[in-house]
Point group: C2
Chain length 359, copies 2
Amino acid sequence: MTTAPTAARELRIAVDAMGGDFAPRAAVQGAWLAAAEDGIPILLVGRRERLELELSRLHPATRRIEILHADDVVGMEETATAVRRKREASLAVCARAVRDGRAQAMVTAGHTGAAMVAAKLLLGAAPGVDRPALAAVFPNRRGRTVVLDVGANVDSKPEHLRQFAVMGHFYAQEVIGTTRPRIGLLSIGEEEEKGSGVTRGAYAALSATGLNFVGNVEGRDVFNGEADVVVCDGFVGNVLLKAAEAMAELIVGMMREELVRSSRTRVGGWLARPAFANFARRTDYAEFGAVPLLGVQGGCLIGHGRSNAKAIRSAIRSAYEFCQADLHQKIRDKIAELHAEEARLTAAPAPVEAERAPS
Amino acid sequence: MTTAPTAARELRIAVDAMGGDFAPRAAVQGAWLAAAEDGIPILLVGRRERLELELSRLHPATRRIEILHADDVVGMEETATAVRRKREASLAVCARAVRDGRAQAMVTAGHTGAAMVAAKLLLGAAPGVDRPALAAVFPNRRGRTVVLDVGANVDSKPEHLRQFAVMGHFYAQEVIGTTRPRIGLLSIGEEEEKGSGVTRGAYAALSATGLNFVGNVEGRDVFNGEADVVVCDGFVGNVLLKAAEAMAELIVGMMREELVRSSRTRVGGWLARPAFANFARRTDYAEFGAVPLLGVQGGCLIGHGRSNAKAIRSAIRSAYEFCQADLHQKIRDKIAELHAEEARLTAAPAPVEAERAPS
């Protein structure tokens, strides 16, 4: 049965139960937490028998979870485009459920590339959006920084970066809760003329958006809280995301090596454990939920492959807030407004100065 | 007096004594350490009276330091191009000393942009090199990764990335001491077809160099030791460098905040101090010396503005090794070999298959 979306509809989140390193258990537990404790209606997508078994272990049972059978799965080692062939893969079934209005957003901890392909192909780009973008949320000194694009696009043009800014603005405002988010353009110097050909073009495009554009920012500003949204091409954003993950692991690994070198530091490390635990909590992947693919028709949040139940639940909550805020309507309206403004400027008569006779 | 460089000449390093947050004291102390303890001849460039005063405080006196007077300085707050006007700035005097053969390399902790402008303008690009590149050395799980370019160029073409690979190869081999350095091309996926238009072109160019090219690498590989040299455009390299610095500071700052929250963790932190100290040593800027600007005629190493005496000494040692290894001659020879190989392929008769009559 296909339900057409209506204004008063109850929102529902489709959860890919088969994606991620700890699937289906982590996904089922996360979905159960979101349904039982947060009251979020869930469409749980995957092999029915297995999901029923996992659910039967969780108490109390909740009526807010409905299972949608999907026979197949896209493995983490497959190429992203495998999802085109695998029509019965849980990812494809999730995306069709959102397309058909059975759910309003999808959450997966599966293959990131395949999730993007499924969402772009089956949901399609939202009106006005040329290129959907993947957004990542980083911790910073004062709060959180949204960086986009982190890998959905390469070779972006200034107009694409402007659309990323609009999408990032609304994500920061509606989902993260930032007031009047400061938008920075990722470059290699603060002055307007610094950067690549694309960033110089984007600077002008961003200046005219009416958003809270604070100019060029640098790599360091992602972590020092000088901007709430950092806009960049998906190539540099993806390098940044993957480098930051690996660097955090390297630092933690090196600290651990040093702490076990002597009995003194071993005792110190043991006493300092609550501090390490707090630190881990502040930088925990699970706290930051998943990365949203912004600009497709319907919500799509992609979790880390290592997502545990807590991370899945957190992603489901983000997806729910995303739908509640009607983020896509806001993005669509703002992009339409920018296009209308441009059309007005293009159609406007030449400025008065040009009409004067030469003196 | 201008000394023409000869094969048997004694190498000498020009040190900009006026650049950096702790100038001139840190630079003079670093130069003194390199001269007195490492036996490296130094040309110390800056205000003579001040430098003589600083040197008079250090014992024993060394004859290996000669002072070259420079009346002016490029301030950290000035634009990079200020060095064009300020012909008597210590940076410009250093570069001219290298150009004129009074020294073979220059070391500065001053204005990075101005140092690049001075070196490119006064030393010029080495034969065969289209674009000099700034290389940064990152700690990784197993050793060190050289990443270039980190900010001297934007919008690099595949041929430029190939030249960066040649320069990085010899820097890793001769200065860092890596045997048969593995060269990775920074991209957003390991497969050859992944990446931007430029990286796909560069993949082909790098495959034919005869270097130990290991294919595409991702942001994470900078820190996990999967490559010894990572080649990229200066835009992404600069974002990576600045983000890594800020992220390391953020992590250390957050850890510190957590450690002082309770008396238990405070005691733990105190006991664990030797571990923190070892960790700091392993990731210390001063241990990694300065970033070399590769591909100019003569050596040019640019230290962090916060460089202390130890960092300056370490940079001077790197500069000395750089000159001893005759790095530029090796880079020049390799690039000439690649160009000759291309010319041979272009001029070669069509392959035999093409000459066959169609069957």
